[in-house]
Chain length 234, copies 2
Amino acid sequence: MKGKLYLIPTTLGEIDAKIVLPDSVIARIQMLDEFVVEEIRTARRFLSPLKMSKPIKDLKFHELSEHTDPLRVPSFLESAEKGSDIGLLSEAGCPCVADPGSILVRAAHEMGIEVVPLVGPSSLMLTLMASGMNGQNFAFVGYLPKEQGARIQKIKELERTAKSKNQTQLFIETPYRNAHMVEDLLKNCQSDTRVCIAADLTLPTQFIQTKAVAEWRKSAPDLGKKPTVFAIGA
Amino acid sequence: MKGKLYLIPTTLGEIDAKIVLPDSVIARIQMLDEFVVEEIRTARRFLSPLKMSKPIKDLKFHELSEHTDPLRVPSFLESAEKGSDIGLLSEAGCPCVADPGSILVRAAHEMGIEVVPLVGPSSLMLTLMASGMNGQNFAFVGYLPKEQGARIQKIKELERTAKSKNQTQLFIETPYRNAHMVEDLLKNCQSDTRVCIAADLTLPTQFIQTKAVAEWRKSAPDLGKKPTVFAIGA
Protein backbone atom coordinates (compact mmCIF):
# COMPACT_ATOMS: atom_id res chain seq x y z
CA MET A 1 0.00 0.00 0.00
CA LYS A 2 1.54 3.30 -1.14
CA GLY A 3 1.49 6.52 0.89
CA LYS A 4 -0.34 9.64 -0.23
CA LEU A 5 0.88 13.06 -1.32
CA TYR A 6 -0.97 15.78 0.59
CA LEU A 7 -1.02 19.26 -0.96
CA ILE A 8 -0.95 21.67 1.97
CA PRO A 9 -1.92 25.34 1.72
CA THR A 10 -0.09 27.76 4.02
CA THR A 11 -0.85 31.24 5.38
CA LEU A 12 -0.60 34.30 3.12
CA GLY A 13 1.53 36.24 5.61
CA GLU A 14 2.12 36.69 9.33
CA ILE A 15 -1.12 35.25 10.70
CA ASP A 16 -2.10 32.28 12.89
CA ALA A 17 -2.64 29.24 10.64
CA LYS A 18 -5.83 28.42 12.58
CA ILE A 19 -7.49 31.54 11.18
CA VAL A 20 -7.20 30.38 7.57
CA LEU A 21 -6.96 26.56 7.74
CA PRO A 22 -9.70 24.10 8.77
CA ASP A 23 -8.89 22.06 11.91
CA SER A 24 -8.93 18.89 9.78
CA VAL A 25 -6.11 20.29 7.64
CA ILE A 26 -4.01 21.23 10.68
CA ALA A 27 -4.62 17.74 12.13
CA ARG A 28 -3.39 16.22 8.86
CA ILE A 29 -0.25 18.38 8.82
CA GLN A 30 0.56 17.39 12.44
CA MET A 31 0.64 13.70 11.47
CA LEU A 32 3.19 14.12 8.68
CA ASP A 33 6.94 13.90 9.14
CA GLU A 34 8.24 14.39 5.59
CA PHE A 35 7.72 17.41 3.39
CA VAL A 36 8.64 18.76 -0.02
CA VAL A 37 9.02 22.54 0.32
CA GLU A 38 10.22 25.55 -1.64
CA GLU A 39 12.47 26.73 1.18
CA ILE A 40 13.25 24.76 4.35
CA ARG A 41 13.67 27.84 6.55
CA THR A 42 10.18 29.25 5.88
CA ALA A 43 8.61 25.77 5.99
CA ARG A 44 10.03 25.27 9.50
CA ARG A 45 8.67 28.69 10.52
CA PHE A 46 5.19 27.68 9.30
CA LEU A 47 5.27 24.25 10.96
CA SER A 48 6.81 25.22 14.32
CA PRO A 49 3.65 26.67 15.96
CA LEU A 50 1.47 23.78 14.73
CA LYS A 51 2.32 21.24 17.46
CA MET A 52 3.68 18.60 15.12
CA SER A 53 3.63 15.04 16.43
CA LYS A 54 7.44 14.86 15.95
CA PRO A 55 9.98 17.54 16.99
CA ILE A 56 10.73 19.91 14.09
CA LYS A 57 14.36 18.75 14.02
CA ASP A 58 13.23 15.19 13.27
CA LEU A 59 11.13 16.15 10.24
CA LYS A 60 12.53 15.36 6.81
CA PHE A 61 12.57 18.04 4.10
CA HIS A 62 13.27 18.05 0.36
CA GLU A 63 13.71 21.39 -1.38
CA LEU A 64 11.90 21.85 -4.68
CA SER A 65 12.42 25.22 -6.35
CA GLU A 66 12.78 26.59 -9.88
CA HIS A 67 16.44 25.53 -9.64
CA THR A 68 15.84 21.85 -8.77
CA ASP A 69 16.96 19.30 -11.37
CA PRO A 70 13.68 17.74 -12.62
CA LEU A 71 15.40 14.35 -12.72
CA ARG A 72 15.75 14.42 -8.92
CA VAL A 73 12.03 15.07 -8.31
CA PRO A 74 10.73 11.46 -8.39
CA SER A 75 13.24 10.56 -5.63
CA PHE A 76 11.33 12.93 -3.28
CA LEU A 77 8.46 10.43 -3.47
CA GLU A 78 10.48 7.41 -2.35
CA SER A 79 8.88 7.28 1.12
CA ALA A 80 5.41 7.46 -0.45
CA GLU A 81 6.34 4.54 -2.70
CA LYS A 82 7.18 2.60 0.46
CA GLY A 83 3.94 3.48 2.26
CA SER A 84 4.50 6.78 4.13
CA ASP A 85 2.49 9.92 3.54
CA ILE A 86 4.27 13.09 2.36
CA GLY A 87 3.23 16.76 2.38
CA LEU A 88 3.89 19.40 -0.28
CA LEU A 89 4.08 22.96 1.07
CA SER A 90 4.10 26.23 -0.81
CA GLU A 91 5.83 29.41 0.35
CA ALA A 92 2.40 31.04 0.63
CA GLY A 93 -1.10 29.84 -0.20
CA CYS A 94 -1.89 26.79 -2.31
CA PRO A 95 0.94 24.60 -3.58
CA CYS A 96 1.20 24.11 -7.36
CA VAL A 97 -0.53 27.45 -8.04
CA ALA A 98 1.98 30.07 -9.17
CA ASP A 99 4.83 27.88 -7.87
CA PRO A 100 6.94 24.99 -9.19
CA GLY A 101 5.16 22.23 -7.19
CA SER A 102 3.18 20.75 -10.06
CA ILE A 103 6.22 18.80 -11.31
CA LEU A 104 6.08 16.72 -8.09
CA VAL A 105 2.34 16.10 -8.46
CA ARG A 106 2.87 15.04 -12.06
CA ALA A 107 5.47 12.50 -10.91
CA ALA A 108 3.06 11.24 -8.22
CA HIS A 109 0.33 10.59 -10.83
CA GLU A 110 2.85 8.74 -13.01
CA MET A 111 3.94 6.59 -10.04
CA GLY A 112 0.34 5.79 -9.03
CA ILE A 113 0.58 7.74 -5.76
CA GLU A 114 -2.73 9.22 -4.61
CA VAL A 115 -2.75 13.03 -4.57
CA VAL A 116 -4.92 14.73 -1.92
CA PRO A 117 -5.39 18.52 -2.17
CA LEU A 118 -6.32 20.21 1.12
CA VAL A 119 -8.45 23.33 1.62
CA GLY A 120 -6.79 26.65 2.45
CA PRO A 121 -6.27 30.22 1.32
CA SER A 122 -5.67 30.95 -2.36
CA SER A 123 -4.92 34.61 -3.02
CA LEU A 124 -6.11 34.17 -6.60
CA MET A 125 -9.48 32.71 -5.64
CA LEU A 126 -10.02 35.30 -2.88
CA THR A 127 -9.23 38.08 -5.38
CA LEU A 128 -11.52 36.64 -8.02
CA MET A 129 -14.40 36.27 -5.54
CA ALA A 130 -13.94 39.79 -4.20
CA SER A 131 -13.32 41.48 -7.56
CA GLY A 132 -16.94 41.56 -8.70
CA MET A 133 -15.61 40.52 -12.10
CA ASN A 134 -16.68 37.56 -14.22
CA GLY A 135 -16.03 34.36 -12.25
CA GLN A 136 -17.56 32.12 -14.90
CA ASN A 137 -14.61 32.70 -17.22
CA PHE A 138 -11.20 33.78 -15.95
CA ALA A 139 -7.48 33.25 -16.45
CA PHE A 140 -4.39 33.57 -14.28
CA VAL A 141 -1.26 34.41 -16.25
CA GLY A 142 1.38 34.57 -13.48
CA TYR A 143 4.00 37.30 -13.47
CA LEU A 144 4.10 39.89 -16.26
CA PRO A 145 7.41 40.62 -18.05
CA LYS A 146 9.98 42.61 -16.04
CA GLU A 147 11.03 44.84 -18.93
CA GLN A 148 8.69 47.85 -19.10
CA GLY A 149 8.02 47.81 -22.85
CA ALA A 150 7.12 44.14 -22.81
CA ARG A 151 5.05 44.61 -19.64
CA ILE A 152 2.97 47.38 -21.22
CA GLN A 153 2.45 45.23 -24.31
CA LYS A 154 1.24 42.40 -22.07
CA ILE A 155 -1.10 44.69 -20.09
CA LYS A 156 -2.71 45.84 -23.34
CA GLU A 157 -3.04 42.24 -24.53
CA LEU A 158 -4.71 41.24 -21.23
CA GLU A 159 -7.10 44.19 -21.49
CA ARG A 160 -8.05 43.15 -25.04
CA THR A 161 -8.60 39.53 -23.98
CA ALA A 162 -10.65 40.58 -20.93
CA LYS A 163 -12.96 42.64 -23.13
CA SER A 164 -13.19 40.45 -26.23
CA LYS A 165 -13.72 37.15 -24.33
CA ASN A 166 -15.31 38.65 -21.17
CA GLN A 167 -12.60 36.68 -19.36
CA THR A 168 -11.23 38.16 -16.12
CA GLN A 169 -7.41 38.32 -16.27
CA LEU A 170 -5.54 37.78 -12.98
CA PHE A 171 -1.81 38.35 -12.53
CA ILE A 172 0.78 39.01 -9.83
CA GLU A 173 3.92 41.10 -9.39
CA THR A 174 6.88 40.88 -7.04
CA PRO A 175 5.97 43.32 -4.24
CA TYR A 176 8.88 45.72 -4.77
CA ARG A 177 7.58 46.43 -8.28
CA ASN A 178 4.00 47.18 -7.13
CA ALA A 179 4.30 50.92 -7.75
CA HIS A 180 5.57 50.40 -11.30
CA MET A 181 2.76 47.95 -12.03
CA VAL A 182 0.08 50.35 -10.79
CA GLU A 183 1.61 53.18 -12.82
CA ASP A 184 1.76 51.08 -15.99
CA LEU A 185 -1.81 49.88 -15.53
CA LEU A 186 -3.26 53.35 -14.96
CA LYS A 187 -1.26 54.94 -17.80
CA ASN A 188 -1.96 52.28 -20.41
CA CYS A 189 -5.46 50.90 -19.83
CA GLN A 190 -8.61 52.54 -21.15
CA SER A 191 -10.56 54.78 -18.74
CA ASP A 192 -13.55 52.43 -18.54
CA THR A 193 -11.52 49.26 -17.94
CA ARG A 194 -12.14 47.86 -14.45
CA VAL A 195 -9.08 46.98 -12.38
CA CYS A 196 -9.14 45.08 -9.09
CA ILE A 197 -6.27 45.53 -6.65
CA ALA A 198 -6.14 43.02 -3.76
CA ALA A 199 -3.30 43.32 -1.23
CA ASP A 200 -2.46 41.61 2.08
CA LEU A 201 -5.30 39.13 1.63
CA THR A 202 -6.60 37.49 4.85
CA LEU A 203 -4.41 39.84 6.94
CA PRO A 204 -5.68 42.63 9.22
CA THR A 205 -4.32 45.15 6.66
CA GLN A 206 -6.29 43.59 3.79
CA PHE A 207 -7.13 46.01 0.95
CA ILE A 208 -9.46 45.01 -1.92
CA GLN A 209 -11.01 47.45 -4.35
CA THR A 210 -12.33 47.35 -7.89
CA LYS A 211 -12.68 50.59 -9.83
CA ALA A 212 -12.64 51.84 -13.37
CA VAL A 213 -9.20 53.09 -14.43
CA ALA A 214 -10.57 56.66 -14.59
CA GLU A 215 -11.48 56.39 -10.89
CA TRP A 216 -8.15 54.82 -9.89
CA ARG A 217 -6.33 57.70 -11.62
CA LYS A 218 -7.93 60.14 -9.14
CA SER A 219 -6.39 58.28 -6.17
CA ALA A 220 -3.81 55.63 -6.99
CA PRO A 221 -3.25 53.26 -4.05
CA ASP A 222 0.08 53.13 -2.23
CA LEU A 223 0.67 49.38 -1.94
CA GLY A 224 4.17 49.58 -0.51
CA LYS A 225 5.61 46.05 -0.60
CA LYS A 226 2.35 44.28 0.21
CA PRO A 227 1.79 41.01 -1.70
CA THR A 228 -0.79 42.00 -4.30
CA VAL A 229 -2.97 40.30 -6.88
CA PHE A 230 -4.22 42.35 -9.82
CA ALA A 231 -7.21 41.68 -12.06
CA ILE A 232 -8.44 43.29 -15.24
CA GLY A 233 -12.14 42.87 -16.03
CA ALA A 234 -14.40 43.68 -18.91
CA MET B 1 -20.44 53.28 9.20
CA LYS B 2 -21.53 50.81 6.49
CA GLY B 3 -21.75 47.04 7.00
CA LYS B 4 -19.56 44.58 5.13
CA LEU B 5 -20.35 41.98 2.50
CA TYR B 6 -18.83 38.63 3.49
CA LEU B 7 -18.28 36.09 0.70
CA ILE B 8 -18.86 32.70 2.30
CA PRO B 9 -17.71 29.42 0.79
CA THR B 10 -19.87 26.36 1.44
CA THR B 11 -19.27 22.60 1.39
CA LEU B 12 -18.87 20.74 -1.92
CA GLY B 13 -21.39 18.04 -0.98
CA GLU B 14 -22.74 16.14 2.01
CA ILE B 15 -19.97 16.75 4.50
CA ASP B 16 -19.63 18.51 7.88
CA ALA B 17 -18.75 22.17 7.26
CA LYS B 18 -16.11 21.98 10.00
CA ILE B 19 -14.04 19.64 7.85
CA VAL B 20 -13.59 22.18 5.06
CA LEU B 21 -14.04 25.60 6.72
CA PRO B 22 -11.71 27.30 9.22
CA ASP B 23 -13.27 27.91 12.67
CA SER B 24 -12.92 31.65 12.10
CA VAL B 25 -15.14 31.40 9.02
CA ILE B 26 -17.80 29.40 10.87
CA ALA B 27 -17.70 31.94 13.71
CA ARG B 28 -18.25 34.74 11.17
CA ILE B 29 -21.20 32.93 9.57
CA GLN B 30 -22.82 32.39 12.99
CA MET B 31 -22.88 36.13 13.63
CA LEU B 32 -24.74 37.03 10.42
CA ASP B 33 -28.51 37.21 10.09
CA GLU B 34 -28.98 38.27 6.48
CA PHE B 35 -27.83 36.41 3.40
CA VAL B 36 -27.92 36.61 -0.37
CA VAL B 37 -28.18 33.05 -1.70
CA GLU B 38 -28.79 31.16 -4.93
CA GLU B 39 -31.54 29.03 -3.40
CA ILE B 40 -33.07 29.57 0.05
CA ARG B 41 -33.82 25.88 0.64
CA THR B 42 -30.20 24.71 0.23
CA ALA B 43 -28.88 27.76 2.09
CA ARG B 44 -31.05 26.84 5.10
CA ARG B 45 -29.78 23.25 4.90
CA PHE B 46 -26.17 24.50 5.00
CA LEU B 47 -26.77 26.96 7.85
CA SER B 48 -28.96 24.76 10.09
CA PRO B 49 -26.16 22.64 11.64
CA LEU B 50 -23.91 25.67 12.22
CA LYS B 51 -25.47 26.89 15.47
CA MET B 52 -26.41 30.33 14.20
CA SER B 53 -26.84 33.04 16.82
CA LYS B 54 -30.42 33.58 15.61
CA PRO B 55 -33.01 30.82 14.90
CA ILE B 56 -32.98 29.88 11.21
CA LYS B 57 -36.57 31.12 10.81
CA ASP B 58 -35.47 34.62 11.85
CA LEU B 59 -32.72 34.89 9.23
CA LYS B 60 -33.39 37.09 6.20
CA PHE B 61 -32.69 35.76 2.71
CA HIS B 62 -32.56 37.32 -0.76
CA GLU B 63 -32.45 35.01 -3.76
CA LEU B 64 -29.92 35.85 -6.49
CA SER B 65 -29.91 33.49 -9.45
CA GLU B 66 -29.44 33.69 -13.21
CA HIS B 67 -33.12 34.73 -13.37
CA THR B 68 -32.88 37.69 -10.97
CA ASP B 69 -33.54 41.12 -12.48
CA PRO B 70 -30.14 42.92 -12.23
CA LEU B 71 -31.96 46.12 -11.31
CA ARG B 72 -33.13 44.51 -8.04
CA VAL B 73 -29.61 43.50 -6.96
CA PRO B 74 -28.50 46.78 -5.26
CA SER B 75 -31.60 46.56 -3.00
CA PHE B 76 -30.13 43.37 -1.48
CA LEU B 77 -27.41 45.59 0.01
CA GLU B 78 -29.79 47.97 1.79
CA SER B 79 -28.99 46.61 5.27
CA ALA B 80 -25.25 46.93 4.58
CA GLU B 81 -25.82 50.55 3.55
CA LYS B 82 -27.42 51.04 6.96
CA GLY B 83 -24.60 49.37 8.90
CA SER B 84 -25.39 45.62 9.09
CA ASP B 85 -23.14 42.90 7.73
CA ILE B 86 -24.46 40.59 5.02
CA GLY B 87 -23.28 37.20 3.75
CA LEU B 88 -23.20 35.93 0.18
CA LEU B 89 -23.51 32.12 -0.12
CA SER B 90 -22.96 29.92 -3.15
CA GLU B 91 -24.76 26.63 -3.79
CA ALA B 92 -21.40 24.86 -3.44
CA GLY B 93 -17.86 26.14 -2.92
CA CYS B 94 -16.77 29.75 -3.39
CA PRO B 95 -19.37 32.39 -4.24
CA CYS B 96 -18.80 34.40 -7.45
CA VAL B 97 -16.84 31.55 -9.02
CA ALA B 98 -18.90 29.74 -11.65
CA ASP B 99 -22.06 31.33 -10.23
CA PRO B 100 -23.99 34.62 -10.68
CA GLY B 101 -22.81 36.20 -7.38
CA SER B 102 -20.33 38.65 -8.89
CA ILE B 103 -23.10 41.06 -9.86
CA LEU B 104 -23.77 41.64 -6.13
CA VAL B 105 -20.08 42.19 -5.40
CA ARG B 106 -19.85 44.66 -8.26
CA ALA B 107 -22.77 46.61 -6.77
CA ALA B 108 -21.07 46.55 -3.36
CA HIS B 109 -17.88 48.09 -4.81
CA GLU B 110 -19.93 50.78 -6.54
CA MET B 111 -21.76 51.57 -3.27
CA GLY B 112 -18.51 51.73 -1.26
CA ILE B 113 -19.37 48.63 0.80
CA GLU B 114 -16.30 46.65 1.93
CA VAL B 115 -16.11 43.17 0.42
CA VAL B 116 -14.48 40.43 2.53
CA PRO B 117 -13.79 37.06 0.87
CA LEU B 118 -13.52 34.12 3.30
CA VAL B 119 -11.40 30.98 2.94
CA GLY B 120 -13.05 27.70 1.96
CA PRO B 121 -13.14 24.93 -0.62
CA SER B 122 -12.88 25.80 -4.31
CA SER B 123 -13.31 22.76 -6.56
CA LEU B 124 -11.38 24.59 -9.29
CA MET B 125 -8.38 25.36 -7.10
CA LEU B 126 -8.34 21.83 -5.61
CA THR B 127 -8.43 20.37 -9.12
CA LEU B 128 -5.69 22.66 -10.40
CA MET B 129 -3.45 21.84 -7.40
CA ALA B 130 -4.00 18.10 -7.76
CA SER B 131 -3.80 17.98 -11.56
CA GLY B 132 -0.02 18.17 -11.84
CA MET B 133 -0.63 20.59 -14.71
CA ASN B 134 0.73 24.11 -15.14
CA GLY B 135 -0.48 26.25 -12.22
CA GLN B 136 1.48 29.30 -13.32
CA ASN B 137 -0.87 29.87 -16.23
CA PHE B 138 -4.42 28.52 -16.31
CA ALA B 139 -7.96 29.39 -17.34
CA PHE B 140 -11.42 28.35 -16.22
CA VAL B 141 -14.01 28.53 -18.99
CA GLY B 142 -17.18 27.38 -17.18
CA TYR B 143 -19.62 25.02 -18.87
CA LEU B 144 -18.99 23.81 -22.42
CA PRO B 145 -21.79 24.04 -25.02
CA LYS B 146 -24.63 21.52 -24.62
CA GLU B 147 -24.91 20.72 -28.31
CA GLN B 148 -22.46 17.93 -29.20
CA GLY B 149 -21.00 19.46 -32.36
CA ALA B 150 -20.29 22.76 -30.63
CA ARG B 151 -18.95 20.93 -27.56
CA ILE B 152 -16.45 18.96 -29.63
CA GLN B 153 -15.35 22.17 -31.37
CA LYS B 154 -14.79 23.76 -27.98
CA ILE B 155 -12.85 20.77 -26.66
CA LYS B 156 -10.51 20.98 -29.65
CA GLU B 157 -10.09 24.71 -29.17
CA LEU B 158 -9.25 24.19 -25.46
CA GLU B 159 -6.71 21.51 -26.38
CA ARG B 160 -5.05 23.86 -28.90
CA THR B 161 -4.92 26.69 -26.35
CA ALA B 162 -3.56 24.38 -23.64
CA LYS B 163 -0.72 23.30 -25.93
CA SER B 164 0.08 26.57 -27.72
CA LYS B 165 0.03 28.75 -24.58
CA ASN B 166 0.96 26.02 -22.04
CA GLN B 167 -2.17 27.21 -20.22
CA THR B 168 -4.14 24.59 -18.26
CA GLN B 169 -7.82 24.70 -19.27
CA LEU B 170 -10.39 23.91 -16.55
CA PHE B 171 -14.11 23.41 -17.19
CA ILE B 172 -17.18 21.82 -15.64
CA GLU B 173 -20.25 19.90 -16.78
CA THR B 174 -23.66 19.28 -15.27
CA PRO B 175 -23.26 15.85 -13.58
CA TYR B 176 -25.87 14.04 -15.66
CA ARG B 177 -23.81 14.76 -18.79
CA ASN B 178 -20.53 13.44 -17.29
CA ALA B 179 -20.51 10.30 -19.43
CA HIS B 180 -20.99 12.29 -22.64
CA MET B 181 -18.22 14.67 -21.69
CA VAL B 182 -15.76 11.85 -20.99
CA GLU B 183 -16.67 10.18 -24.27
CA ASP B 184 -16.23 13.40 -26.25
CA LEU B 185 -12.90 14.14 -24.59
CA LEU B 186 -11.45 10.68 -25.20
CA LYS B 187 -12.69 10.49 -28.79
CA ASN B 188 -11.57 13.95 -29.85
CA CYS B 189 -8.35 14.80 -28.00
CA GLN B 190 -4.92 13.70 -29.16
CA SER B 191 -3.46 10.56 -27.52
CA ASP B 192 -0.70 12.48 -25.73
CA THR B 193 -2.94 15.22 -24.33
CA ARG B 194 -3.18 15.04 -20.55
CA VAL B 195 -6.64 15.12 -19.01
CA CYS B 196 -7.38 15.51 -15.31
CA ILE B 197 -10.70 14.24 -13.95
CA ALA B 198 -11.56 15.34 -10.39
CA ALA B 199 -14.87 14.17 -8.90
CA ASP B 200 -16.49 14.40 -5.45
CA LEU B 201 -13.75 16.73 -4.21
CA THR B 202 -13.25 16.83 -0.39
CA LEU B 203 -15.75 13.94 0.01
CA PRO B 204 -14.86 10.41 1.18
CA THR B 205 -15.51 9.21 -2.41
CA GLN B 206 -13.04 11.75 -3.91
CA PHE B 207 -11.49 10.66 -7.22
CA ILE B 208 -8.65 12.62 -8.86
CA GLN B 209 -6.49 11.32 -11.67
CA THR B 210 -4.43 12.80 -14.49
CA LYS B 211 -3.52 10.62 -17.44
CA ALA B 212 -2.72 10.94 -21.12
CA VAL B 213 -5.79 10.40 -23.30
CA ALA B 214 -4.26 7.14 -24.61
CA GLU B 215 -4.20 5.82 -21.02
CA TRP B 216 -7.73 7.02 -20.21
CA ARG B 217 -9.00 5.19 -23.31
CA LYS B 218 -7.88 1.87 -21.77
CA SER B 219 -10.09 2.42 -18.72
CA ALA B 220 -12.55 5.30 -18.91
CA PRO B 221 -13.84 6.29 -15.48
CA ASP B 222 -17.49 5.81 -14.54
CA LEU B 223 -18.31 9.13 -12.86
CA GLY B 224 -22.03 8.54 -12.45
CA LYS B 225 -23.56 11.83 -11.40
CA LYS B 226 -20.65 12.98 -9.25
CA PRO B 227 -19.86 16.70 -9.47
CA THR B 228 -16.72 16.75 -11.62
CA VAL B 229 -14.10 19.26 -12.73
CA PHE B 230 -12.15 18.52 -15.92
CA ALA B 231 -8.79 19.91 -16.97
CA ILE B 232 -6.81 19.69 -20.19
CA GLY B 233 -3.05 20.22 -19.90
CA ALA B 234 -0.16 20.57 -22.30
